[in-house]
Amino acid sequence: MQSIAELLGLLPGYSSIPETYRALIPVVVSCVVIFACMALAVLFAVWLERKVSAHIQDRLGPMYVGGWHGWAQTLADAVKLLLKEDIVPASADKLLFKVAPFVVFLGAFAAFVVIPFGASSFVADLNIGLLYVFAVGSLSVIGIIMAGWASNNKYSLYGGMRAAAQIISYEIPSAIAIMTVVIPVGSLSLVEIVNAQQGGIQNWFIFRYPPLVFLGFIIYFIASLAEVNRTPFDIPEAESELVAGYHTEYSGMRFAFFFLAEYANMFLVASVATALFLGGWTWFVPESVVPQFIPGPVLFFGKVLALVFVQMWLRWSLPRLRVDQLMYLSWKVLLPASLALVLGVGWVTVYW
Amino acid sequence: MNAQEIAALLTEKFGGRIIESKSDGINPYSIVDPAAILEISRFLCSDERLALDHLELLGGADYKDRIEVVYVLYSMKHHHRYTVKCRLPRENPSLQTVESVWKVANWHEREAFDMFGIVFEGHSDLRRILCPDDWEGYPLRKDYKYPTSYRDMPV
């Protein structure tokens, strides 16, 4: 944000704006930038998902729109969704129904504020960054329940309830798994966590105290899949059971927001995983051996994309769990395992 | 057991209630008294020698002067089959349900009721199964008149 403020300072007449407003402008600008980047990334991710699924299934996927491998297909779809009629069911709770998609989207979007894309490319470096991510990320549960309730559709209701139970359950193992990183660093600030991983791949947390933090990464990754409702944990929108779960009744722009939020959430959890475990924007080898020639944000985005790809890969190769099995996995497998890991990491940090 | 033996066994057991048996030809059958169908069914299913535990088909047939109910039975144990028929009048045909003997008869009887209007007494849930609940007439009867509309919709 500092750099944005400096850039804005170069604009003619910028200094003549009153001080109180001048402080606000960089905030707004950086939000817009993040929103734009995120929208672009989501568009790309949707296209990638379609391509990955198509190739796993021996198909080609979209091939026409835009020319090369249908790159503009999602753009066209987005335009289509924008132009579609916005249907609100007659018996729906109108206000909640209309607000819900934006609440879901807000949770995904607001959490990006603390993600450090590069050494200086972040909006804010909160000293409780991780806590903030978790707090804001859980906002989407409210939105989903609102959508499920307001639709006045039994499938939606089931979807909303399932989502609430699932997301809240899986936040616990994922939060505890993150402790395996927080304990050695001693800070919740994402920037500090990334800085602690400087100096090559061996310093990334995923390879610290093998295999403790690596297992923590796996647990976090599994739990994050459940948090963003991806297969094999997509029971809230289980297509074959609940039609489309909580967004059964949505169409047009509001549906697009759910869609956007889903993919933004994928990016969010992948970004957190990258910053925590995969060294964030840091380079693979020590700077002294090979200097970093790729800009930090690009590197960061590459790592995120790799994780997003794994999420897609999993989605197109696995079946879906049942509700009770999902809870079993969370409370009886992931939670004890992550607790044991925290104990292990704590022991290692203190006595090693 | 072959068809002659089954027919003989049935006649021996039920005597006059087996109206007619045709045990040669490609589809041997016995025509039985509709009033005794439940009793006969129980015997067919539970008797060790017959053990006709698999009700393959239960269906009606309209012969213009009568309605027949056909029970095609098969034994998973002995691998033999037999057909039992009941003849019913066309007006208000009814006979006892065999649901308690073969559970599959439940739906088959509903279908026969739906298509021919055969009432199965004692059936647990005798509703139309394929046609809508408020459909009029019994489609597979030979004198069935095609409706021109259903709920003001042209058919």
Binding site: D58, W313, L314, S317 | -
Partner: protein, 166 residues
Amino acid sequence: MWNYFRDIGLGIVTVLTSMGVAWRHLFTRSVTLQYPTEKWTMPERSRMRLFNKIEDCIGCGQCARACPTDCITIQTEKRGKDEPEVFASDGTQIKLRTYVFDIDMALCCYCSLCTFPCPTHCLVMTPEYEYSVYDKLDHIYRFAKEKPLSGKAQKPHSEKTESHGQ
């Protein structure tokens, strides 16, 4: 306890196996065709749209009788004595003037039962499969070219379609 760890172990192993199978398929050749630009070559026996070569049709009506859905309508009249004799391409004399030969492809069930009895093999199923239309009535193909001499009006096919429910 054993079952607990067995579940976890088998879960991890089989998930990785599934992912491995999926990974290999990422790089196999796709089996689909890009339809409007690439097309199948239809096998010669393909049973798609019906076509009647009306010049060879003797109007015998065997196809209409064979059709299980009654989608073929034929109306004929005797050719007059004074008219020149007409022959089909295989030499059969065409004694009847077929002035209605309508096939309603919306009713057709593509069973091909009509093409076999045809004595002059003029009714065939073609490999033509792209014939979508906006109006259902456009699926009635009228093959007859000649007009009836006796002045009978051509019975519109659509009436027949309406009453076809049974």
